[in-house]
Amino acid sequence: MPSDVEVTRRGFLKTGAALATTAFGFDLQPARAAARELKIARTTQTHSICPYCAVGCSVIIHTLGDRAKNVKSAVVHIEGDPASPVNRGTLCPKGISLKQFVVNDQRLTEPLYRAPGATAWKVIPWDEAIDKMARRIKDSRDRGFEAKDARGRTVNRLDNVAIIGGCTDTNEINYLLGKFRFSLGILTYENQARL
């Protein structure tokens, strides 16, 4: 904390403030207020990886509170992790502004639904969304699934439904998505890596 450091301003300000008080009979605010408290002095630090490009920089996410039961954590700052041989604490302008990506009033917080022909979103509950989506997928699969091809060979494929994505999903989620894909027989599975 600031008191550990020898700076002339401490003496300077203190003397100045005392002087002002003496001279004018009012307090010019405590001199310490001039020095901002280190905003990450008591945060919890979590190691993470930047989700943008593929350099794979390590970041430290600073969150409010100490993970105690009654604390609602919030991200207050993100900066580079010096432990990483990749970035050694450095970051690019996108990485250094990651806090604003996580804490962002434009983030989606509820499932949204747009009915055919509608001109606006409507919030729907998760359970209803899952039910509806599963029904759509099943209907399409039941219509389009090809168990055998024209030559009678087992092909177990579905070509009227496709999946795209996964470029910023973790390996584990990509793996689960793969299991999901193959359980339905989906052939088209595109990824940002193509583009």
């Binding site: 993470s48 990886i49 930047c50 490009c53 593929a54 794979g56 920089c57 991200v75 432990a83 041989p85 970035n87 690019c92 302008p93 996108k94 502004s97 990506f101 996580v102 962002n104 434009q106 983030r107 989606l108 917080t109 509820e110 499932p111 639904y113 747009r114 055919p116 022909g117 899952i130 599963a134 029904r135 759509r136 997928i137 399409s140 219509r143 168990a147 060979r153 087992t154 092909v155 177990n156 009227n160 439904v161 999946i163 795209i164 994505g165 996964g166 910023t168 973790t170 390996n171 584990e172 793996y175 689960l176 998505l177 193959f182 052939l187 595109e190 940002q192 890596a193 193509r194 583009l195």
Partner: protein, 805 residues
């Protein structure tokens, strides 16, 4: 990646970020790392500072990488093969190639069958009717033993070396200059620097990104770069390699785990004619082409059976071929790449699309076609952090129409859309794989906002609901769905640690994690979700969490930091860093050393205890050596310069064959191509350092850095057109148009190509009709023309017109 896999054996950056600091020469071409990978670029600056490395930048724009380069050359977009072919010719004709390396570690000595030829823009075997090649003449001559014949003197007239020399003899400095728009002197200055690494004791690296992958001839382009690096002896060497800088945090991981026509670990999705497991294994376990080829893909059955065991658990038995029939089978000859997906969608042949964090309307080629195609779906499911142009494509009429022509009114868009709030990177744990192939584990820091949900839970809940519906109601072939193993401790939201263990694999009987893919078996006794990642989570724990700092070789390998596929190996093909006797080409830069009975240093890309002469250095290829001549590609075994699909000039090498004859094109009413009369300028799209793709337009800080879409254009062109910086201009292609202020710069100039002045126009991509800052979708302009091997669209080097508004 298709290119690197065919040439070297694996589709990934050969070396890695930290290794770039070991180089003597950096060629940045088809990428702009100072802007798009600034932190990766720090290793270039280290090499410059500490090794006096030279940085050469070849690009259509004098960009921020060029600003710190030692030599910059401006070229026309889409002429990289000509430039690199010229470098190959320069190395060969000036004896600046690493002859011992080429003889030992490439297929230069391999003899090609009689009948192979190249003339007037076509290789032998072109079938004009089918618009594709019959590749039967692109094969090696085989001996009676079945192995390819070779001539180590490299003198046989049909050996790869002689064919290559002949093929590129046409690529003289003058020819390169007249195609690319640089001068012959500039080219030769660059050639001197690059080819200075063509001997033992010097290393050169190539850094590239989407400036190379986004052409209708991109795979061949990257193959040319790989050939150059092989000729110079730069593969397997610290400070060497062909280093693809991937643009997203986990596209490497996503492809490693089986995107496209792949299962995890680059095992192919079965084709319809591989009707049994045995047939699959036969078709996918290649025969070695040389007696010393380790031919690692010969292990395919072990990897596939272990995967089937992981997928189908108890439902995978000897009796049902471990569930092989459950897997979907692709029709022979069918392709399911991006272009086909959206073309078929536009034709009304798709009912539904599920998008996990992708934004085709903004990021796909030909945005108008993307929008109209999505409008033909019955339903669309999007899981995202923010509302994207794809989820809200039906709003395009209102929000985006001014930038191009008609789109369908929302009232007439019958697509039902679900937009699901997903948690972001900081809100869940798991692994990203960076360009260096490092699997780095991250931890959850906070809960997702509101009712946003983790992706693993979204997927699981959909899966479980579908399984429930099929169990209750039946339906079309429920078996593959019901057989898929989902027996996680918490099936609704599986712990990613548990999934990571499944990916790495275990011995089924003992329940113990396997130490690596060497332990996998084809008898069903092991299960492994991705053989490439086997060893990432062992009995010793999650190796991807490791944060050790040691670097005993001083080469930046960092073997104890995270975990690198395959087998924690850091420099791919590192056996090639030594000669036939195992003596390093460069004693100061030896990633592995032979100690008489074993290799030490990096994890050898070789059998750990096999003597240097036992096997070829490229263990994933049937040849055992790297491929200069690669019959894998659609348009020829050697790269040839073809113009972009929309080009301002004829092909100076063969006027009758302009663009890539095998390029993938579509013929819907939304797929017109333009010509140079109507659209005289060459356009390129690119990223800026200030933004990430289409995400950071939601972020204030980056929006402040660059709030506005702009059109970057050469001063000479601006003067011709009476345009000043800040003036509003409209850029139009055959597909659509965009508008924005001009950024007039001296950093781009007119290029002299085939006797005329060609101007290029730059278009940063980062805007759209949603976000904190908004702007036009640049992909309104781009064509759905793709590379035939990779299916990647030609975002660079298409034609536009430009006018002041």
């Amino acid at each position: 990646m298709a290119s690197l896999a065919a040439t070297f054996g694996r589709g990934a950056m050969t070396n890695g970020w930290t290794d770039v600091a070991n180089t003597d020469v950096v060629l940045v071409m088809g990428g702009n790392p100072a802007e798009n990978h600034p932190v990766g670029f720090r290793f270039v600056m280290e090499a410059k500072r500490h090794r006096k490395a030279r940085l050469v930048c070849v690009d259509p724009r004098f960009n921020r990488t060029a600003a710190v380069s030692d030599k910059y050359v401006q070229i026309r977009s889409g002429t990289d093969i000509a430039f690199l072919g010229g470098l190959l010719n320069y190395a060969l004709s000036h004896d600046r190639f690493h002859a011992d390396y080429v003889r030992e570690h490439t297929n230069a000595p391999f003899i090609v069958k009689e009948g192979f030829s190249f003339a007037d823009g076509y290789f032998s075997g072109w079938d004009e009717d089918r618009q594709r090649y019959d590749k039967s003449t692109w094969e090696y001559e085989r001996g009676a033993d079945g192995y390819a014949r070779i001539d180590k003197t490299l003198e046989h007239p049909r050996c790869v070396f002689q064919l290559l020399k002949k093929h590129y003899a046409r690529y003289t400095p003058e020819k390169v200059a007249s195609i690319s728009g640089c001068t012959a002197e500039e080219f030769e200055q660059v050639a001197e620097v690059i080819c200075s690494t063509g001997r033992a004791g010097r290393s050169g690296t190539i850094l590239y990104a989407l400036g190379w992958t986004q052409h209708s001839h991109s795979v061949q382009l990257i193959h040319t770069a790989a050939m150059l690096q092989l000729m110079l002896g730069n593969i397997g060497m610290p400070g060497g390699g062909v280093n693809a800088q991937r643009g997203h945090s986990n596209i490497q991981g996503a492809t490693d785990l089986g995107a496209w026509n792949m299962l995890p670990g680059y095992l192919k999705v079965p084709r319809a004619n591989w009707t049994s497991l045995a047939e699959y294994n036969r078709a996918n376990s290649p025969k070695p082409l040389r007696p010393n080829s380790l031919n690692y893909w010969g292990n395919t059955p072990k990897f596939l059976v272990s995967l089937l065991r992981a997928y189908y658990g108890e439902h995978a038995t000897h009796r049902n071929q471990f569930g092989y029939d459950y897997l979907p089978k692709i029709a022979e000859g069918a392709t399911h790449s991006w272009g086909y997906l959206f073309d078929e969608m536009y034709a009304g042949k798709k009912e539904g699309l599920i998008s996990f964090g992708m934004n085709p309307v903004a990021g796909g080629p030909n945005s108008i076609k993307m929008i109209e195609a999505l409008g033909k779906l019955k339903w669309l499911i999007v899981a995202e952090n923010f509302e994207t142009e794809t989820a809200a494509f039906w709003k395009a009429k209102e929000l985006q129409e001014k930038y191009y022509g008609e789109v369908t009114d929302p009232e007439n868009v019958q697509t039902e859309v679900f937009l699901l709030p997903a948690s972001c990177f900081a809100e869940k744990d798991g692994t990203f794989v960076n360009s260096s192939r490092w699997l780095q584990w991250k931890y959850k820091a906070v809960d997702a906002p509101g009712n946003a949900m983790d992706d693993q839970e979204i997927i699981s809940r959909l899966f479980l609901k579908l399984r429930e519906l099929y169990e209750k109601e039946g339906g079309a072939s429920p078996e593959p769905l019901l057989a898929m193993d989902w027996s996680y401790a918490n099936p609704v939201s599986p712990s990613l640690t548990e999934v990571a263990r499944e990916i790495s694999g275990k011995d089924v009987r003992s329940g113990r994690q396997v130490p690596g893919f060497g332990a996998l078996k084809d008898d069903g006794s092991t299960m492994c979700g991705n053989w490439l990642y086997s060893g990432s989570f062992t009995e010793a724990g999650n190796q991807m969490e490791r944060q050790g700092q040691s670097d005993p070789t001083g080469l930046g390998l960092y073997a104890d930091w995270a975990w690198s596929w395959p087998a924690n190996r850091r420099v791919l093909y590192n056996r090639a860093s030594a000669d036939a006797d195992g003596k390093p080409w460069d004693e100061t830069r030896a990633p592995v050393r032979w100690k008489g009975n074993r290799w030490v240093g990096d994890v050898p890309d070789y059998k750990a205890d096999a003597p240097p002469e036992a096997n070829g250095a490229f263990i994933m290829l049937a040849e055992g050596v790297a491929k200069l001549f690669a019959p894998d590609f659609a348009e020829g075994p050697f790269p040839e310069h073809y113009e972009p699909a929309e080009s301002p000039v004829e092909n100076l090498l063969h006027p009758n064959v302009g663009d890539n004859p095998a390029a993938l094109k579509f013929s819907s009413d939304l797929d017109p191509l333009g010509n140079a009369e109507q659209y005289p300028y060459v356009a390129i799209t690119y990223r800026l350092t200030e933004h990430f793709h289409f995400w950071t337009k939601h972020v204030s800080a980056t929006s402040e850095l660059q709030s506005t879409f702009f059109v970057e254009l050469p001063q000479a062109l601006a003067e011709e057109k009476g345009i000043a910086s800040g003036d509003r201009v409209r850029v139009t292609s055959a597909r659509g148009s965009v508008e924005g202020p001009a950024l007039v710069t001296k950093r781009m100039r007119g290029l002299q190509v085939a006797g005329k002045t060609i101007y290029q126009v730059g278009l940063p991509i980062h805007w759209g009709f949603l976000g904190r800052v908004k702007g036009p979708l640049v992909n309104n302009l781009t064509p759905s023309v793709m590379d035939p091997n990779s299916g990647t669209p030609e975002y660079k080097g298409f034609l536009v017109n430009l006018e002041k508004v």
